[in-house]
């Protein structure tokens, strides 16, 4: 890997990272696990002037209960989410989705905050977090603000994050004992999802989110509405791709992605006990 030249700054706390972002502004890019940024730098699609390395910011790596919410530090690595008992107990969908990210090496480097902030619509964690009604705590010069998963991503690899803001925490409402399902379709184990579907039951309702069915992760609003209106899972799943505009690429055509969204929604609903 031979990226374009860049300066390197190490920031071992959230405050140090914010200070570095303030100093370097647009020219800076945050490096957490590096699993998304480094491939882009390798291809010179990303050419940041300054790389701010937050990977050792220990104050951002944690998983803890906060009342009805799981609070997960942005620098928590995928492997730690997979194995955290509070996650498997209160948000098993998230633990399961994290267990299928990339390969073992990726899961030991990649972070939940990096995955969320990178906003790749085919990524596992943003798909699961959208179905879990998660929200994201962001800190900047003006203090903290909380953004819902629905509002966070604005386009392909684009979010509401300002250049001087740092994602610090992912807040997941507990879904203890609730049914869930996750269906990820790939050709190879290490691939990004061709299409992924996450289903999370909560208090009698059912949330359905779609990975790689548009420029951001999406809720399958028509299918959710059909379910809420009493439709069978099979019938609701037929609406999973309503209103979506999936991409066509070397892996799949848009038509095939739509078909997969319907099949995988049916299966994820079945896994969540909906028939």
């Amino acid at each position: 890997m031979i990226p374009a030249p860049f300066d390197y700054v190490r920031a071992d706390s959230a405050d140090a990272a914010l200070a570095a972002l303030r100093e370097h502004g647009d020219d800076a890019k945050l490096l957490a696990g590096g699993q998304s940024l480094l491939p882009l730098m390798k291809l010179r699609l990303a050419t940041p002037g300054v790389v701010v390395d937050v990977s050792r910011a220990a104050d951002l790596a944690y998983v803890r209960e906060d009342g009805d919410v799981l609070a997960i530090g942005a620098l928590t690595r995928h492997c730690d989410i997979v194995s955290a008992e509070v996650v498997t107990a209160h948000a098993p969908l998230l633990a399961h989705a994290a267990s299928g990210v990339g390969d073992r090496q990726v899961r030991h480097r990649g972070t939940i905050g990096g995955s969320v902030a990178h906003a790749d619509p085919s990524a596992d964690l943003p798909t699961a977090l959208l179905a879990l009604d998660a929200s994201y705590v962001v800190r900047g010069p003006a203090g903290e603000r909380t953004i819902t998963a629905t509002e966070f991503a604005t386009g392909f690899l684009e979010t509401v994050l300002a250049p001087d803001e740092l994602l610090i925490e992912i807040r997941v409402p507990k879904a203890t004992g609730e049914a869930w399902g996750y269906q990820k379709f790939t050709r190879r184990a290490i691939d990004w999802a061709t299409v992924a579907v996450a289903v999370q039951a909560r208090g009698g309702g059912t949330a359905i989110s779609l990975g790689n069915m548009g420029s951001t992760v999406l809720r399958a609003a028509s299918a959710e509405a059909a379910l809420a209106g009493g439709a069978s899972a099979a019938d609701a799943a037929q609406h999973a791709d309503d209103g979506t505009e999936p991409a066509a690429d070397v892996t799949a055509s848009a038509d095939y992605r739509r078909h997969l969204a319907r099949v995988l929604t049916k299966r994820a609903l079945a896994a969540a006990g909906r028939s």
């Binding site: 890997m1 031979i2 374009a4 030249p5 491939p39 291809l43 379709f185 050709r187 190879r188 184990a189 290490i190 691939d191 990004w192 061709t194 070397v250 799949a252 055509s253 095939y256 078909h259 997969l260 099949v263």
Partner: protein, 773 residues
């Protein structure tokens, strides 16, 4: 294995051949790692300039290059373009019969013909700086029509090489098309794409070189990641218009080649010129993206098969039409249809056969040799054709195969297309693999699932194959056996292993004849100053030629040693016996007085020991064969294919080391499966590559592959004293059609007759949709 009859004066010991000796090269690779070109720390390379190529981003264009901005940057030693090579003719094409008008220039000379073609070379003090400076070279592209589809190329509407007057580089043919199918009750025809795939060696290409001496005494030392050191040396010498002895070529550890590293590429050759001009050593190591763009690809044939015969399953006529995509500059790929033609009829005794092939140039990366090189394409075509024929007449595909195989007692035989098969038992291989796979039970399970409406469909695919190794011409290979004065042995071979385990297998061959323990034997290769001559490793030639040469050299060494021992004992050589268990010689009937190898070797030459050079020459190529059964599950809703099992018979004659042979079979099967299910190099209609990294190029991992069940079978070849044939490419030849046939078989009851490779989930899903319309 028994000792050959001419050496009955050796006392018998238990042979090491055929035993599971662990590979002696592995501890290094598993611990400290190999020393590849990029790892070289030879002091002569200190201060080397680093070469970076500026590559075309368009498939076909006139180019004007401005290097001014790059040349002035501190740390830049040189920026060169085609103009700087005006005094040197283009290097000779890698094969003699490629038309000279299609020779590629040193660097793109006014026209680029594929994305990734080198336009300029930058030499910098540091590797990192090269990539940055490359962005400062300004290339003005004036687009020309990109010819991407070989069918368009064959139409000659846009010519890639005006001087050649046609896009056709080469054509071969065999047999007559007249009345070929006249008496057939059933005729089936199908167009088949044998898609372009990438070799993907783990070690990418790399080169280092240095000139020493001056004037006519100047000599080039050149390291590169190659499969064929002597061929590479000759290629470099020819390109530089030097006698070969002025080039010292060294292949250090090589991390895979798969055919694509036979010889050296243009990017390697340029370094020799730059090094001479700048008076500095040079280094180049490509990136993975460059490797995917520029090393060359394999396969890339469009085929039309037509197969005819009787309703009771007798195949009587077959035709194969091949349109070979050679890429922008004809390389091995342009010639490989000859191998496809030679192996066109596979294991089947077909009365009438006709083959037509044409190789055309396109605005894509050159097509090179890739594991199997022309034979997998032949096998894929006939094995798909047999399945289509079986489906048409409603017979079990395994049974149709059995009714058409060459009989065991028919060998040696020459096929309708002129291949001289040496030995085989094709029905034996088929029966063995069907039994091991429990074929009848699989068919019953398939029926059960279909009858019950199970959405997880079972598919069973069968292939029979025969291939040609160490061909097509009769081959030769060199070996030197040097018994040192201390009794240790160095075996020099002209083959050039890059993963094949020659250091183990060839040492076993020497140990078996010399009675010297393995840990006293070293195998050397890859250095043209140490090894007098050699053909390298490719085309599965090494054991049957290089191994046979080591075996022959060891026997000749024993003969010479008996003469020397006879002098020591003051006895006739004919009375001297080698006691392999004790590693020494004695007079027949007097086993107590033994003179060891050290003493005998010292008596030959106190410094050098005993040296015997030999060349083994085969009288013909050999024809390994086998049969594969693939089982897949197809998700009828999504088209997803899961490979459930692979059971294979791969008969390459007697096995010297099962560990090595199983490794070759495993890797080959995996690559064969990869072509059937996963891999495809794709270009868009403008010739832009769509698969330049291992995310977009679906290179499978262990997670996608099941355990393989390997069934042993050994039918000796009469063409070498070891009876061995090549095993390196068998897996890629047998596995691909077995898996493709299994995928089609899974959905055949729905009316599907063919699915192109790779049989991606979407392709399978679409085939089901089409069939159910």
């Amino acid at each position: 294995m028994a000792e050959s009859a001419g050496h009955a004066t050796c006392s018998r010991t238990v042979s090491i051949l055929g035993t599971r000796v662990m590979r002696v090269e592995d501890p290094k690779f598993l611990t400290t790692g190999g020393v590849y070109v990029d790892d070289l720390r030879d002091p002569r390379l200190d201060g080397a300039g680093h070469v970076t190529y500026v590559r075309s981003v368009m498939a076909h264009a006139r180019v004007t290059v401005d290097v001014a901005a790059a040349s002035g940057v501190p740390g830049v030693l040189a920026v060169v373009t085609a103009a700087d090579f005006a005094d040197l003719p283009p290097p000779p094409p890698p094969l003699g019969f490629i038309p000279p008008a299609l020779a590629r220039p040193w660097l793109a000379n006014g026209v680029v013909r594929y994305v990734g073609e080198p336009i300029a070379a930058i030499v910098t003090e540091s590797r990192y700086a090269g990539e940055d400076v490359a962005e400062l070279v300004s290339v003005d592209y004036e687009p020309l029509t990109a010819v991407v589809d070989p069918r368009d190329a064959a139409g000659d509407a846009t010519l890639l090489f005006a001087d050649h007057g046609s896009n056709t580089a080469l054509a071969f043919e065999a047999g007559s098309l007249d009345g070929l199918f006249d008496d057939c009750e059933v005729v089936v025809t199908q167009q088949i794409t044998n898609q372009r795939v990438a070799p993907v060696p783990l070690e990418v290409r790399g080169t280092a070189c240095v000139w020493e001496g001056s004037g006519d005494d100047a000599r080039l030392t050149f390291w590169a990641s190659t499969q064929s050191p002597h061929g590479a040396r000759d290629q470099i010498a020819a390109a530089l218009e030097l006698p070969p002895e002025r080039v010292h070529f060294i292949a250090p550890d090589v991390g895979g080649g798969f055919g694509a590293k036979f010889g050296v590429s243009i990017e390697d050759l340029v370094l020799a010129v730059l090094s001479r001009r700048l008076g500095r050593p040079m280094r180049w190591t490509e990136t993975r993206t460059e490797n995917m763009l520029g090393m060359g690809h394999g396969r890339a044939q469009l085929q039309t098969v037509t197969i005819g015969g009787t309703r009771d399953g007798r195949i009587t006529a077959y035709s194969l039409d091949v349109l070979q995509d050679s890429g922008a500059y004809p390389h091995f790929g342009a010639v490989l249809p000859f191998m496809t033609q030679l192996m066109a009829t596979g294991t089947y005794d077909i009365a009438r056969v006709a083959v037509r092939t044409k190789s055309v140039v396109t605005n894509t990366a050159p097509v090179v040799a890739y594991r199997g090189a022309g034979r997998p394409e032949a096998t894929a075509a006939i094995e798909r054709a047999v399945d289509l024929f079986a489906a048409e007449i409603g017979l079990d595909p395994a049974e149709v195969r059995r009714r058409n195989l060459f009989a065991k007692d028919a060998f040696r035989l020459t096929t309708q297309v002129g291949a001289a098969y040496d030995s085989g038992d094709y029905a034996g291989a088929l029966d063995a693999v069907l039994a091991a796979a429990k074929y009848d039970e699989l068919r019953a399970e398939q029926r059960r699932r279909r009858d019950s409406g199970d959405p997880m469909l079972l598919g069973i695919g069968v292939s029979n194959y025969v291939e040609i190794t160490a061909g097509p011409e009769a081959g030769t290979e060199f070996a030197r056996i040097n018994v040192k004065p201390d009794g240790s042995v160095i075996v020099y071979t002209g083959t050039s292993p890059h993963g094949q385990g020659h250091a183990t297998s060839f040492a076993m061959l020497a140990a078996d004849e010399l009675g010297v323990p393995l840990d006293r034997i070293t195998v050397l290769h890859g250095d043209t100053d140490l090894v007098a001559r050699g053909g390298g490793t490719g085309g599965s030639r090494s054991l049957q030629l290089g191994g046979a040469a080591v075996h022959q050299g060891a026997l000749e060494t024993v003969d010479r040693a008996r003469e020397l021992a006879g002098d020591l004992f003051e006895a006739a050589a004919g009375d001297i016996v080698l006691d392999k268990a004790r590693g020494g010689f004695h007079v027949a009937g007097s086993p107590d007085d033994v003179r060891g190898w050290a003493e005998v070797a010292t008596s030959a030459d106190a410094d050098a020991g005993l040296i015997v050079d030999t060349d083994f020459s085969a009288t013909g190529a050999t024809f390994p064969f086998g049969a594969h059964v693939a089982v897949v599950e197809v998700d009828a809703e999504t088209g997803y294919v899961r490979l459930v099992s692979m059971t294979t018979v791969d008969d390459a004659g007697p096995v010297i080391n099962p560990v090595v042979v199983e490794g070759q079979r495993h890797g080959g099967i995996a690559q064969g499966v990869a072509q059937a299910l996963f891999e495809e190099v794709r270009y868009d209609e403008d010739g832009n590559p769509q698969s330049t990294n291992l995310t977009d190029y679906a290179f499978p991992s262990a997670a996608e592959l099941p355990d393989f069940t390997l069934v042993d079978m050994a039918t000796p070849s009469p063409l070498n004293p070891l009876g061995v044939k090549g095993i390196g490419e068998a897996g890629t030849i047998g596995a691909t059609p077995a898996v493709q046939n299994a995928v089609v078989d899974a959905v055949a009851h729905l009316g599907v007759r063919h699915i192109e490779m790779p049989t991606t989930p979407e392709r399978v899903w679409r085939a089901i949709q089409e069939a159910s319309k």
